[in-house]
Amino acid sequence: MDNLENVKADIVLDTRGLSCPMPILRLKKELKTTEAGKIVEVWSTDPGSKKDMPDFAKKQGDDFLGYVDEAGYTRYLIKKGG
């Protein structure tokens, strides 16, 4: 997943410090107004996000591009589906 490092997100959503279910709920809100094809990047410290994010994107019909571990948090990349 090294090419993910270079993916440029259109929107960055910082949820660091929030725990389940807030990262998902905030992502759901963001995706409502996001145009198809745009990329949302979620920053999360919740270990549960590693499973929740891809599951949620799949359910919503969005494209989960992957995640990148940073020092102390993780960046999740989701492309809004059409």
Partner: protein
Amino acid sequence: MEQTSLSSQIWKEIKRGYNFIFIKDMPLWVAGIGLGILAILIFLWRYPWGISSGYGNWGNQLYYYLGFGKLAGLKEAPLTPWIHPVSVMNIGMILGATGASMMKGQFSTYLAPTREYFKGFLGGALMGIGSTFANGCIEGGFYTAVGVFSMGGFMMMIGLALGSIVGVKYLIWEMLNWPVKIPTQKPMEDKKTPRIDWSKVYPYIGGGIYILICLSFYVYSAFDKTVVGGMAFFGLWVGFFMQRSRFCLQRTFRNPFMTGDYEMVKAVILSLIIYSAGSAVIKYGFFQPETHGIDHRFWLGSLIGGGIFGLGMVIAGACASSGLWRAGEGNTKVWLAIVGFCTVYPFFKNAVKTTALGPFLGKGVYVVDVLTWTWTPVFYVAFFLAWYLLAVYNEKTEKFVITF
């Protein structure tokens, strides 16, 4: 061709096994089966599985040693936390989760915004009150209650669903109108690189925890308390299954109203099929008395308690059991939820026990007394099927998902 020595081949296999058990993501259904079996073993060992009275024990220490023992109806010092069986099991669960998250490299403590700590405490306190009304938390009052054929479990389920709806509505309202601000954090580069790379050390600490607690049987046997040692052992593996799969009873009730997701519903149903079948054998075969574990306050207590508990768990972001494993993997908000739980539980427990509130809330009703062994299995099959179909229907139509 280079010949690999036998010992290196065996070592490779051992590493694969370790990876399979402790590192690879565990599906929820595997945990569902594991927990169902553990619940039966715990039931046979001595007590039906519960969690809240362990928190109660911790709270009792607080009341007693701060001089408020009277408020909790304590006449003498409570059992110490390392002797009280449910407390010991809870400690086993926390350590099981800590060990498992350390081995997987998931263990991390992070700070939450201040309001989240307040919500943790408040949610924990609500769960504490709800548990005293229902005479059990989501674990003892719902999961075990349904598993051992106590009517209260079904009533608490309705309460939990209603409470979750209110909780999810609150979270959505808060997000839209009064969002928690994320404090801007300094870039990590500013921090000094620590002398020890803990991520390399953690897996060894985690493994050590597992070995130590598996030895608890021997330690407690030396003090003639083998039963209590067993509780630590069972707690450890409950924590293992829960943390490894992120098994969260709260999610069972919350997510159908939040996103429509019903993965946990399936896992809980599977788990309860195993648990209830096992306890039917145990009860029918007289291995334990039929009414063992039938003490949930049916029906007002279970319903009201479930409602309060359901609201509390959504606000706290964890229930009684997932609170233990989340606390174990380093979630600091949940630590406050446990403090909140322990602070209110002894007072309300005593109030329910000694005032007219108790009889008002109801008493334990055994499903088999009402339906007989002829109809109980039929009822259970119909119940599981109906719950499953409702969850699938909701996932497809999002009929019950709260929109915003």
